[in-house]
């Protein structure tokens, strides 16, 4: 049996599929958020050095990891759009950008809130933080560039190029704590093992999946709006039941 992948590369068929997929991510995400928050506040033990302050990492780390991951996904869709000239890929890239920017902002914000009591400063221009700030500007730049060009297909191409070039920043963020002296600590979760107590790890994993599913649900919902907006002059849209009423 062969699956026809190209079927879902068309906005028409993906519109319906995305609508069906949203609850499958939104509902588990809500449940996992509740479980993860409960574990983060009440189940995970206090940290030997940081006391209760460390609990902010249960939102800081997932948003930071996913901000980088979603940038690569966005750049991947942008590249697909450029190479295959598929409309949906570019729409997916546009749909991911605001969520990625939000995650980047949350990671910077929670990091600052944690940094003041722990390090003694809200902000310092070390390699990790500076490169993460650049990631935020890349997301915002992608959105702004796309919005500044009226013709959607040209906007797609210009913004795609920015997204692809900007993906060079992602490995810099990830390895910054390894390559240079930074105030930010090194990676806790490594391929060689994790230097974190097991309940903390489970909480972190729960929150990461919750954020991930939330992002997927929101992106699918956003891409549906983008499809409606861009294809509004086509027949299939005017025949949708939600458009007739």
């Amino acid at each position: 049996m062969t699956i026809n992948w190209f079927k879902y590369a068309s906005p028409t068929s993906f519109y319906g599929l995305a609508g069906k997929m949203i609850p499958w991510f939104a509902i588990p995400s809500a449940i996992l958020f509740v479980v993860g928050m409960y574990m983060g506040f009440f189940v995970a033990p206090v940290d030997a050095q940081q006391g209760e302050f460390y609990r902010i990492m249960f939102i800081h780390v997932p948003t930071a990891i996913l901000s980088m991951f979603f940038y690569l996904v966005m750049a991947g869709y942008a590249a697909l759009g450029l190479i295959f000239n598929t409309r949906l890929s570019a729409m997916m890239a546009s749909a991911i950008a605001p969520t990625g920017a939000l995650f980047t902002l949350i990671s910077l914000w929670t990091g600052a809130l944690w940094g003041k009591p722990m390090w003694g400063t809200w902000w310092i221009w070390d390699a990790r933080m500076t490169s993460q700030l650049i990631l935020l500007f890349l997301y915002l730049g992608f959105i702004a560039l796309h919005a500044s060009i009226d013709e959607p297909r040209r906007a797609d191409r210009a913004a795609a190029l920015l997204a692809i070039v900007g993906s060079v920043n992602v490995p810099i963020i990830y390895f910054s704590v390894k390559w240079w002296n930074t105030l930010h600590q090194g990676s806790t979760i490594k391929f060689s093992g994790t230097s974190m107590q097991i309940t903390m790890q489970h909480t972190l994993l729960t929150m990461t999946i919750a954020c991930w599913f939330y992002a997927i649900a929101v992106v699918l919902s956003r891409v549906r709006s983008i499809i409606l907006e861009r294809e509004r002059k086509t027949d299939w849209i005017s025949e949708l039941p939600e458009m007739r009423s």
């Binding site: 390090w119 003694g120 692809i164 070039v165 810099i172 002296n181 930074t182 230097s195 107590q197």
Partner: protein
Amino acid sequence: MKPRHKRFAFIAVALAAVGLAVGLVLYALRGNVNLYFTPTQVFDKQVPKGRSFRIGGLVEKGSVKRESDGLTTNFVITDMYKEIPVVYKGILPDLFKEGKGVVAEGKMGAGGVMVAEQVLAKHDENYMPPEAADALKKAKAMEAADALKKGGAANTAETVAIPNNAPVAQ
């Protein structure tokens, strides 16, 4: 070559070129990207003269002395090779502790003492509850005692690695 192969090749080449360019720039700037100098680098005179800079390392055990005004603290930053004494007037961050990571910003004063304007604590990447930390400490102490009994080197207790970036002189 089909047009889409051409576009793929174009993107791959562009990405490789940008990556190479950024890599070269960062390589050239590697000294400036680092947040702090290690005490060894200070002794090697790699530090800008007459300007404010940062030193990073561990707070040497037993070196923290608070003066009677309750605000001034003296301590020593070490990278296990060289030491720099620091004097700081102000409130220290919560994570400032002997044997833990620290970054101090200031100018070198008389007698090779850094007069710090800002002291930041550097956290390590280990997260564990207090009981686990105690158990780990006990295990290390026992290990050290065992090593002493066997006539091993006395400095085995000093295996505390500097968090994150080992201070290798560049």
